[in-house]
């Protein structure tokens, strides 16, 4: 029996005007626990308006390199009776270190993840997109409306110190530098 908990991708929305962006992962036994854990691991201090989680193995990812290396990447046999379903589309559009987020850009209806990505590229364009993700809407679990005050608001008032604020550490550094 596999006793390892699955990995979940965590998407955080900083404020209601921003898209949900991937900020990291957690291991959890199920979606509800993944959300609870994501709150503790990823929302300890920064602002948050909403959290989503999705099992990592439900995400279909494609990089610009993979697309360039295989022009036929989108060719597949979709069963004729495959139902249409909604996919959430995410893009990473910067390689700068501080902005390596994969952000939600919109939704498409498709019969497979690859078809969803092909349609998304037509709709959203491919300029400066480094990574594409497609996630079935049904695979995403969202924090409930109304939990803001207990889940997210308390983090705003929590104080923390940068390392440089600790006098002793700063003093020690200066001492080390003087002795170099």
């Amino acid at each position: 029996m596999d006793t390892q908990w699955p990995r979940w991708e965590v998407f955080k929305q900083d404020d209601p005007q921003q898209p949900h962006r991937s900020i990291g992962t957690v291991h959890a036994p199920d979606a509800e626990m993944a959300l609870l854990i994501a709150r503790d691991v990823h929302v300890r201090r920064p602002d948050c308006a909403s959290l989503w989680v999705a099992r990592a193995d439900c995400i279909t990812a494609l990089t610009a390199e993979e697309i360039a290396a295989d022009p036929n990447w989108h060719i597949e046999n979709i069963p004729p009776d495959a139902p249409m379903q909604l996919y959430l589309i995410f893009q990473k559009t910067s390689q700068r270190r501080a902005m390596t987020y994969v952000a939600h850009v919109g939704d498409v209806e498709a019969r497979s993840p690859r078809e969803a990505l092909r349609l998304a590229m037509e709709r959203f364009g491919t300029n400066k997109v480094f990574v594409w993700w497609a996630v079935p809407a049904g695979a995403i679990t969202r924090s409930e409306a109304g939990v803001e005050a207990s889940w997210f608001a308390p983090a705003r008032e929590k104080k923390y110190k940068q390392q440089s604020e600790y006098g002793d550490v700063g003093g020690l550094r200066a001492k080390v530098r003087r002795n170099l």
């Binding site: 959890a28 609870l36 854990i37 207990s150 308390p154």
Partner: protein, 249 residues
């Protein structure tokens, strides 16, 4: 101090000591929790409880003098007013999660009423603390359900924890010597009402987790009485502060 102020100061000390000792017990898991994610989550909960202790100590000190640090680090076990429930050793993960769950439910039942306290500073603190407790309750409740309904071993550990913890829950609702004074003044709710609200929360949840409720709780000791576990906990918790009482932190 008036009679009411004296009674309130004692009550605030009890509230603060519960939070402080429980926070310390939870902090003992730091670096030892079953998985990294829960290590962070429980450390977070412990920090929250420590923050709540601080708020109650400050209200206590405003009435009775002293400082939170002196109260936390320079009192002997006999002077602490926490319930024995929170000083018991941390046990296994089932024990820690269930204790935190039972305590969170008690806090929510109490805080729902304290937010209407006639002592305004206490009502304000209660509103603030309650927000974080709603989240704690959700988190620990999720664990109780999963372990109760999980494997044979997880269920057995959870039932064992419940059998051990249950008798100690009575002390949460045992009226203090001056409780009447506070209840009459509308400052704190009658303990029996808090107990009723608590039972309405935890009984259905524990039963839904397939756990058998033990017989009626029995530990109704006064809050000045402690197990030897508290002395050992304080010896560790206070050792650094006492090694250099003049140090600034």
């Amino acid at each position: 101090m008036t009679e009411i102020e004296r009674a309130l100061a004692e009550k605030l000390l009890a509230l603060a000591d519960d939070e402080l000792i429980l926070a310390h017990r939870n902090s003992e898991w730091t670096g030892h929790a079953p998985i990294l994610e829960e290590d962070i989550a429980l450390a977070n909960i412990a920090q929250d409880e420590l923050g709540h202790a601080m708020l109650y100590y400050e209200l206590h000190c405003a009435l009775a003098g002293g400082t939170p640090d002196r109260l936390a680090f320079f009192r002997e076990a006999a002077d602490f007013r926490n319930v024995q429930l929170v000083e018991l050793p941390k046990g296994d993960w089932a024990f820690t999660m269930l204790r935190q769950y039972l305590f969170d439910a008690y806090e929510l039942a109490l805080l729902a009423q304290l937010t209407h306290s006639a002592h305004r500073p206490l009502a304000e603190v209660a509103a603030k603390v309650r927000n974080e407790e709603l989240y704690h309750y959700k988190h620990t409740g999720a664990w109780v359900r999963r372990l109760g309904l999980g494997t044979e071993e997880s269920h057995c550990r959870m039932q064992t924890a419940l059998n051990e913890l249950w008798p100690y829950t009575a002390q949460l609702f045992t009226p203090g010597a001056d409780e009447e004074v506070l209840v009459k003044a509308g400052i704190t709710p009658p303990p029996a009402e808090v107990r009723e609200a608590w039972a309405a929360k935890v009984l259905p949840w524990l039963e839904a987790a397939n756990l058998s409720i033990p017989l009626a709780p029995t530990v109704t000791l006064r809050r000045a009485e402690h197990t030897p576990h508290l002395t050992r906990l304080l010896a560790e918790m206070q050792s650094v502060a006492r090694s250099d009482p003049a140090a600034e932190w």
